[in-house]
Symmetry: C2
Subunit: 157 residues, 2 copies
DNA sequence: ACTGAAATCGCGTCAAC
DNA sequence: GTTGACGCGATTTCAGT
């Protein structure tokens, strides 16, 4: 992914597509005051350069029966540092883990997890996550209220 | 949003659109072995019922000059409980705050924040967040490595 | 009532200027 | 960077089950 400069038009395209990922090419072109073929080329270029990495439908988790979201922190046990890559692969393979980063601070990993309910979350944590050799100190923060929903990245003008 | 049952076809549609939010109606119809008008009606219904809440382009933050992601926890000072709604409104209005939940555990709020670099994150935390009356005990976990990128919700079959 | 065939209209896409 | 043309897809209507 090249980190070359995006001009004002590129940024406007990104802004619109972050809000409406299904905007048709002509809608988009109209909004940014560009001809349709121009607009089309811009979008393709942004996709090829890896700026636009894909498009996704946003789904309400509740409607899929996923009533609980939690952030879960964990560490890798000192004696298991050689198993780090293995643990990371296992983490990636759990569909209920939506996101995972290594982070600075008191814990090594921070995960975003969804589950049907508290019972099923608890089962996931104890029967799956904590069963992984090398995983230590699992702590969870259950999401109570969504104050700000997942939002588009800010686009500097 | 009605929480009525989704059948196997609905779930398949959701699965595909979570992976490719720009899939055309005919592509979608072909993948789920349905006629185009049928498929179209299903999608519209899912949108109207609030199951599909929108579509979004995924953007690589680095290409927008956003080199740093962090999770930030904070509390509301004991004497400022009456200002909670006010604080939440301020939080919602910061574009660099991508997401915010109240959570169980040691902290009250957990935020996902992006910034250009560490300096700019630090400025945001000290000059913006910590300036909010009632905000207390701001701690940040800087994301070091992305182990698993934001992923679609699991769809139970 | 629900399905799919068909028909229309507009858009995506490419090529030429 | 714009115009024009072609073909396909989106969307509606309608007839059949």
């Amino acid at each position: 992914m090249t980190t070359e400069k995006l001009d004002a038009i590129d940024r406007k395209i990104i802004e619109v597509l972050q809000r409406d990922g299904r905007a048709s090419n002509v809608e988009l072109a109209a909004q940014i005051h560009l001809s349709a073929p121009q607009c089309f080329r811009r979008v393709k270029s942004l996709e090829e350069r890896g700026v636009l990495r894909g498009y996704r439908a946003l789904v309400a988790p509740q409607t899929l029966g996923l009533g609980v979201t939690a952030y879960v922190s964990l560490n890798i046990a000192g004696e298991a540092f050689d198993r780090v890559r293995e643990v990371e692969t296992l983490i990636r393979d759990f569909p209920e883990i939506l996101e995972c980063h290594t982070v600075s601070g008191d814990c090594d990993y921070l995960l975003k997890v969804v589950a049907q309910d508290l019972k099923s979350l608890s089962q996931f944590l104890t029967d799956r996550l904590m069963q992984i050799k090398g995983v230590d100190d699992v702590r969870s923060m259950i999401c109570l209220e969504e104050i700000k929903p997942p939002s588009p990245l800010p686009v500097r003008d």
